[in-house]
């Protein structure tokens, strides 16, 4: 279906005039993000609840309007909230209530607009911990973050790719309401809560898993109006360690042996530049800080819980020390300019405003994909070669390796920093990211969350999946009103 | 008993498939985890213990008709009993082995006969053996041995050689040696020579119950007239039939029945036999089905709710003869026993049983080869067994596959170790 100009005013019917805006100051946030191409947002529509969202979608179907969901406040970097062509932005960030925190079952009920800061505070009061991605934007929606399968930094709690997202309420592109997991069980939520449900089971209902289908769909299939999120108990004692090395393989070997029996809590590997970017207190100190770091730093946490906390901590420390010694790695309590305590604080919260990755040069572009840990080194090689070829110093590349699925999979994230005001620099970053993506693809990188032009690479590899996904799209969003043209749902892919 | 008598057993099957696997706690690898040669070869559920029981139900319910194909499905089974002992791990109330026997009898009574089996029965009727050999040659194996003839003398121990040991040139020496060894240990032994006939167990297994009964009578009479207090056989098949089929059909032998390995084990225990000759050999031991799980004595027909059947009367397969052969191997200086993965009540069949060797030689051979591969996987130099039927098929398979594996009868190793035979003869 072709994109069609729609008078945004029609949406007033659904959300009231006060919740439809055509102010340029608001629209500009959705014209472009990162390296994405320009879109043409016509209005921002702000539903105040599920019923309104449903109305919006039904209206979009009537008027063949392209809807683009957003739940986070700006800045935005990935282009998934920039319409391909014309579109109406459906901003859910105003739905920002934390509906409930259940201490016993360790779960939070949140609306899309809830940000990490809010949630951390509320969880903390209950003695619980939010499973954090690495330094999310302060304004980032928790729900949107996990809908995008953003990795968390404690691999042992990442049992499956949907974690820590549990149950959801969603409105399909057809305008139909659906609840996933145990939220979809008979009865409304109040009744379910009275019956003792804690909405901890993310699967179903029935023999289909719409949450899983919608996750990673970049708003192309449904809008999610609330969700339950898995929280964990706050440790009684907690310590951060570092292991620095000039060889990634050693840290990888350490990681494999440690994660297999689920030792450690936080567990991530950073290249010197990323580490420096994270710990730097001012942009000017990053270069120097990066020089002072080892090429690779593994950051890991160990914890003790309510019963025999010190004993548990000691067991973990000793086991990890044994493994470290066996693989030739030395755990230390600090790295240059960053003692353990500081890192502990950094990892526990969102990024300082606006976003740590913009600090070095003002803008950045990520290449993120999945692989296994043993292949991460080879991927770094490929990326470094590409950097060389594009005149980008590999030493300035941000590298973040996050074991997920309890160590079975690795999320690898390369960050190219650039100056958005310098067109040549921007173009170079653009070319580097494009070229490197192809080469990484060739080397086995799995672009499981392809944003923007990466979709072309990602979906070219799996024509069968594309065919099936398009059928699914047809079922859930029959008139193609949700984030038109994205992922494999555009004309140009495959 | 008839098929209908086992309806409750059959209807009790939950289709759990345990009858297709080595008991789960004992599964040690992907490769050697199956236990039923028949479904291993033919794959349809029909060919498992459960599947055959369902055939029975289907026939009883008139859903399927007995025809040549169904009969073949029923007979493509070694009656090895692995399904039964695996099922018994869980179930007190299902006797698969009995159902399998009833199915065969049902086929025979309904006239669905296999020509190859008819040939066996024909041979039995004409020559008293299952191998198509001349009756007049039956006693040749014992010629020249200094041993009593029970047709004219009494003795303490009656030795029953069995068809295969009597006729198979590769096996005859073994029983000759057995006699020498037992005699040298001071036993008063007699044999029936040319008058010995088949034990009839094969006939029973093939479904020809009348013939089986006749041969049982023959043995029973001979045992009685010999004055023996013990019947010893070297053949595992005969052993199983004496211990199980005979009492089941009301022909219980009024003497102690022993396999030759048990006798030797006792002789060692009481110091009358000494293995003194070094035999540097690593071996693995194959439990013959009929000596092992099917060597359990008959304990009576339980007519009530089988859940109320005392454990001691349940045919679990665990009370077969497993230790005596192993004790002998342990007692032989120089012999090192390396076990296969599938042993004792969950041993894999040699392939020869249940009339399969006669009727479906390819299927039999593929079963044998599977066991040879398992033996090879242990790294042992030799595969040892205690049954002439196993020995025959193992030897043939090793010849055909050129496997780097020696095949021995346990008794032959005993003879060497005891100094009764020379190493060259094995």
């Amino acid at each position: 279906m072709q994109t069609k100009s729609t008078d945004p005013k029609v949406f007033r019917r659904a959300v009231g005039p006060e919740n439809v805006s055509t102010e340029e100051s608001e629209l500009e946030h959705f014209r472009t993000a990162g390296l994405s191409s320009r879109g043409e947002p016509a209005a921002v529509v702000r539903p105040q609840g599920t019923a309104q969202l449903r109305e919006v979608i039904l209206l979009a179907r009537e008027t063949a309007t392209n809807l683009v969901f957003t739940s986070s406040a700006p800045p935005r970097f990935r282009g998934d909230t920039v319409p391909a062509g014309e579109g109406i932005i459906v901003d859910l960030s105003g739905m920002d209530r934390i509906l409930r925190i259940d201490r016993r079952n360790k779960v939070a009920y949140i609306e899309p607009g809830v940000t990490f800061n809010n949630l951390i505070e509320r969880a903390d009061e209950a003695g619980l911990k939010v499973l954090m991605p690495l330094l999310p934007r302060k304004s980032k929606s928790v729900l949107a973050c996990f809908l995008e399968r953003e990795p968390i930094i404690i691999p042992k709690y990442h049992w499956d790719m949907t974690d820590p997202l549990l149950c959801t309420e969603m409105v399909f592109g057809s305008g139909d309401l659906f609840r996933t997991g145990t939220a979809g069980s008979p009865g409304g939520i109040d009744r379910q809560l009275k019956a003792g449900l804690a909405h901890k089971n993310p699967l179903g209902p029935g023999a289909t898993d719409f949450l899983r289908i919608v996750q990673g769909s970049q708003g192309t299939l449904a809008g999610v109006t609330w969700a339950t999120i898995k929280l964990e108990a706050k440790p009684t004692v907690h310590k951060i360690y570092f292991a620095c090395d000039d060889r990634l393989e050693r840290l990888v070997a350490f990681t494999y042996r440690a994660l297999r029996p689920r030792l450690g809590d936080e567990w991530l590997i950073l290249g010197a530049r990323s580490l420096a970017t994270i710990i730097a207190e001012s942009p000017g100190s990053i270069d120097e800080l990066a020089r002072r770091q080892a090429p690779w730093t593994l950051v890991y946490g160990v914890s003790g819980y309510r019963y025999y906390p010190e004993e548990r901590l000691a067991v973990q420390e000793n086991e990890l020390a044994r493994i470290a010694q066996a693989v030739g790695v030395r755990p230390v309590p600090e790295v240059p300019s960053c003692p353990a305590k500081k890192m502990e604080e950094i990892l526990a919260g969102p990024s300082p405003y606006p976003y740590y990755k913009t600090v070095p040069r003002g803008a950045f572009a990520d290449v993120a994909f999945l692989t296994t840990l043993d292949k991460a080194g080879a991927m770094v090689e490929v990326m470094s070669t590409a950097c060389d070829a594009h005149g980008y110093p590999p030493s300035e590349l941000g590298i973040y390796i996050q074991p997920i699925q309890q160590g079975r999979t690795a999320h690898v994230e390369f960050t190219v920093y650039y100056d958005p005001a310098d067109e040549a620099d921007r173009a170079r970053a653009c070319e580097l990211v494009e070229a490197a993506s192809w080469e990484l693809d060739e080397a086995g990188a799995f672009f499981s969350r392809p944003y923007g032009s990466l979709s072309r690479i990602a979906f070219r590899n799996c024509p069968d999946s594309v065919e099936a996904l398009r059928k699914v799209k047809q079922v859930m969003d029959p008139d193609n009103v949700l984030n038109r043209g994205k992922l494999c749902f555009g004309e140009e892919v495959v | 008993m008839s098929l209908e008598d086992y309806r409750r057993d059959i209807e009790g099957c939950s289709r759990c498939s345990s009858c297709k696997w080595v008991p789960y706690n004992q599964i040690k690898s992907w490769r050697f985890s199956k236990n039923c040669p028949s479904i291993y070869r033919h794959n349809f559920h029909t060919y498992s213990g459960s599947g055959r029981m369902v055939i029975g139900l289907s026939l009883m319910e008139g859903r399927a008709e007995l025809d040549e194909t169904v009969a073949e499905m029923i007979f493509r089974c070694q009656l090895c009993g692995a399904c039964d002992s695996a099922c018994k791990t869980y179930r007190d109330d299902i006797d698969i082995s009995e159902v399998l026997l009833e199915l065969r009898s049902y086929c025979v009574e309904s006239g669905e006969l296999l020509v190859e089996h008819m040939a066996v029965i024909d041979s039995l009727k004409r020559e008293g053996n299952s191998l198509g050999e001349l009756k007049t040659a039956r006693g040749d194996w014992a010629r020249g041995l200094d041993v009593k003839d029970v047709n004219s003398e009494t003795c303490d121990v009656l030795f029953h050689a069995g068809c295969r040991y009597s006729y198979d040139p590769d096996a005859r020496e073994t029983v000759r040696g057995d006699i020498q060894l037992l005699r040298s240990a001071g036993l008063d032994i007699g044999v029936a020579g040319v008058e010995e006939a088949c034990c009839g167990g094969r006939a029973y297994e093939l479904g020809y119950r009348g013939e089986a009964s006749n041969y049982a009578d023959d043995v029973l009479n001979r045992v009685k007239s010999s004055g023996a207090g013990t019947l010893v056989t070297a053949c595992s098949d005969c052993y199983s039939h004496f211990q199980y089929i005979y009492p089941k059909i009301g022909k219980e032998l009024p003497v102690e029945v022993l396999h030759v390995s048990q006798v030797m084990d006792r002789l060692i225990d009481n110091g009358r036999l000494d293995f003194k000759h070094e035999l540097p050999l690593s071996v693995t031991y194959h439990d013959p089905c009929h000596l092992g799980r099917k060597g359990e004595p008959f304990t009576g027909v339980w007519t009530g709710d089988k859940l109320d059947r005392p454990m001691s009367l349940k045919r679990s397969g665990r009370k077969g003869i497993y230790d005596a052969p192993r004790n002998l191997l342990y007692a032989m200086p120089g012999v090192e026993l390396v076990e296969m993965e599938r042993i004792r009540e969950y041993a894999w069949c040699c392939g020869a049983g249940g009339g399969v060797l006669e009727a479906f030689p390819d299927f039999s051979a593929s079963t044998t080869v599977e066991r040879i591969e398992e033996a090879l996987a242990t790294g042992a130099e030799a595969l040892v067994t205690a049954c002439p039927w196993c020995l025959r098929v193992f030897k043939d398979a090793v010849d055909q596959t050129s496997a780097d594996l020696e095949v021995y009868d346990l008794a032959d190793l005993a003879l060497i170790s005891a100094g009764v035979a020379q190493p060259a003869s094995v």
């Binding site: 008979p186 019956a195 289908i213 192309t220 079975r408 590899n461 | 992907w30």
Partner: protein, 547 residues
């Protein structure tokens, strides 16, 4: 009946030896007694059975079926009514010949397997490299692929090894059209380390909380997560199940934990979860344990009131837990924690170390989940009230409610009296959620029991709805029809997806999307009314469930 032409095409697909339409063979597939609440154990007879050995052959079989308007229905090991056809025009695909462990990736802790690899096989091979696989409670005879892709997935080890559906890393799938597709990283030719993406995850179409039960093509390969196994490559084990003796590896400790009441037991569960200990954990009722292990004795003793009080009451609230340590120090710590928790909640522990025969009996039986088939002994069959997994508290409550229902039926001798409480309760993922089903044995050869089982099942459904659960047994067409409108209209959506991916509806949908009316024959009228009232009250409108 299958036409000669269609049959010939099946022969061409898999070879003449691997297809059959002989009535006796077909009947061995139509025999599906478990959860078959009829007096005879048959399901509809398939028109043919095909035994493919490769993905390509599966595809050809399906395409041949499609050309001749025949449905197909696959199974891996085939245990339960849901494995058989539900209509008269189905070709049964028995995947027995697809039995390979394609790969065990030790470092990245996963295995790629085909359908007919059973749990015991995979575990035996995984243990050789220090890994373990999740085995569902049904037992190690089941196919890990089947439970991961197609049905449920609960096991005693779920505390450490999760739920089968959550253990999938990649999938090869012959779609109902016969086309082969791979999901996740393997779909892009990148290896088997992730089953989701790119973009939306098609894993969500493969299955949800339960599976398509053969209603959505055939799964031919799956990559499954494996988990750490700190024990030896092999556990020496002699004897079988009831009198098994296995060496208990030094890295394991086994405890029975008993509590004065359900609430304290629940609190202990929650605390154990937060302490992140435990490798295998199962709440079974003590009488059930006795019934399973010694049905003969149980039958004789169950009239004894004192024993009932002792087993069901004093010893009623218990679970068994196996701790696995990667070192002495680790194990000792876990033991300290467990004892402190049990103590705090006024319970006591029975340490199998002090009763070596018990430990030796339990070790392998629990690690390999080898006992469940014993449940069939007491009555010849059993059925189960499966709830909807969620918080531990709800699951414990479900267990109690169902036990109460069962007691009534047992008193009337409409099911076998197992002293009431017979839950199979397992916590998942460090006790962060849980599963509870309540088993009841019955004799499927007794008309009275058959009537009892259909009436009691209705009570379970009603109770499930009252407890806001979409029970796992909602896979039955009549239950699905009632539940779907109360439960996000899930079947409407399921059916739409099924129609999109299987346009000609060629997979047998009986246990997937088909709906049917309830047979209320044995159900008291007031129960029928109660059900109807619940349906009336809770049916979703376009704005969701009535709050």
């Amino acid at each position: 009946m299958i036409s000669d032409e269609a049959y010939k095409e099946l022969e061409e697909a898999v070879g003449v030896d691997n297809v059959s339409r002989h009535p006796a063979v077909l009947d061995s597939y139509a025999f599906q007694p478990f959860e078959n609440h009829e007096s005879m154990p048959w399901c509809p007879r398939p028109v043919a059975v095909a035994l493919p050995s490769t993905t390509q052959e599966v595809s050809e079989v399906i395409k041949a079926c499609n050309r001749h308007n025949l449905k197909h229905k696959a199974f891996s090991t085939g245990w339960g009514l849901w494995c058989g056809p539900t209509t008269d025009d189905v070709v049964q695909i028995d995947l027995r010949r697809m039995n390979r462990i394609v790969e065990i990736d030790e470092k990245n802790m996963f295995a790629v397997i085909e359908p007919y690899v059973c749990g015991a096989q995979l575990q035996a091979e995984a243990m050789k490299v220090g890994l373990n696989t999740h085995i569902i409670g049904a037992g190690p005879n089941c196919s890990p692929l089947a439970s991961a892709t197609s049905m449920h997935g609960v096991g005693h080890d779920s505390i450490y090894m999760s739920y089968s559906a959550r253990n999938v890393l990649g999938l090869e799938w012959v779609m109902p059209t016969g086309e082969v597709t791979r999901l996740g990283a393997p779909g892009s030719g990148k290896g088997w380390f992730c089953g989701d993406g790119p973009g939306p995850s098609l894993r969500g179409t493969m299955r949800g909380y339960t599976g398509a039960l053969g209603g959505m093509g055939v799964f031919t390969r799956v990559a499954l997560k494996l988990y750490n196994w700190p024990g030896p490559p092999e556990i020496e084990s002699t004897g079988t199940v009831v009198d098994v003796m296995s060496e208990v590896p030094d890295c394991l400790r086994i405890f029975g934990c008993f509590f004065p009441d359900k609430d304290r037991l629940a609190d202990a569960y929650y605390d154990i979860g937060e302490a992140e200990i435990g490798y295998n954990c199962l709440k079974v009722a003590t009488p059930a344990f006795m019934m399973i292990l010694a049905p003969h004795l149980f039958k004789k003793l169950k009239g004894t009131e004192n024993l009932r009080r002792l087993l069901g009451g004093t010893l009623g609230q218990m679970f068994l837990i196996i701790l696995a340590g990667i070192s002495r120090e680790d194990l000792d710590h876990q033991v300290d924690v467990l004892k402190a928790i049990v103590d705090e909640h006024l319970g006591f522990v029975l340490d199998a170390k002090n009763i070596p025969t018990l430990g030796s009996n339990l070790a392998m039986n629990f690690i390999r989940a080898t006992m469940p088939a014993l449940v069939f002994r007491i009555g010849g069959s059993f059925s189960t009230a499966l709830g909807r997994n969620d918080s531990l508290d709800t699951q414990l409550a479900w267990g109690e409610a169902i036990a109460e229902i069962k007691r009534g039926y047992a008193k009337k001798e409409m099911i076998i009296d197992d002293m009431g409480d017979n839950p199979y309760f397992v916590p998942y993922e460090n006790n962060t959620w849980a599963h509870c089903e309540v088993v009841y044995p019955y004799d499927h050869r007794s008309e009275k029991h058959l009537a009892g089982s259909s009436a009691i099942n209705m009570d379970f459904i009603i109770n499930a709805i009252e407890s806001c659960m979409e029970p796992m047994f909602g896979v039955v067409p009549s239950a699905r029809k009632v539940l779907s409108p109360l439960t996000s209209n899930f079947n409407r959506w399921q059916r739409k997806l099924s129609e999109a991916l299987d346009p000609d509806q060629t997979s047998d949908k009986g246990f997937y999307t088909d709906e049917a009316e309830f047979d209320f024959t044995n159900v008291p009228p007031e129960r029928v009314e109660r059900l109807q009232k619940l349906v009336e009250d809770l049916t979703w409108t376009e704005l969701g469930p009535p709050e």
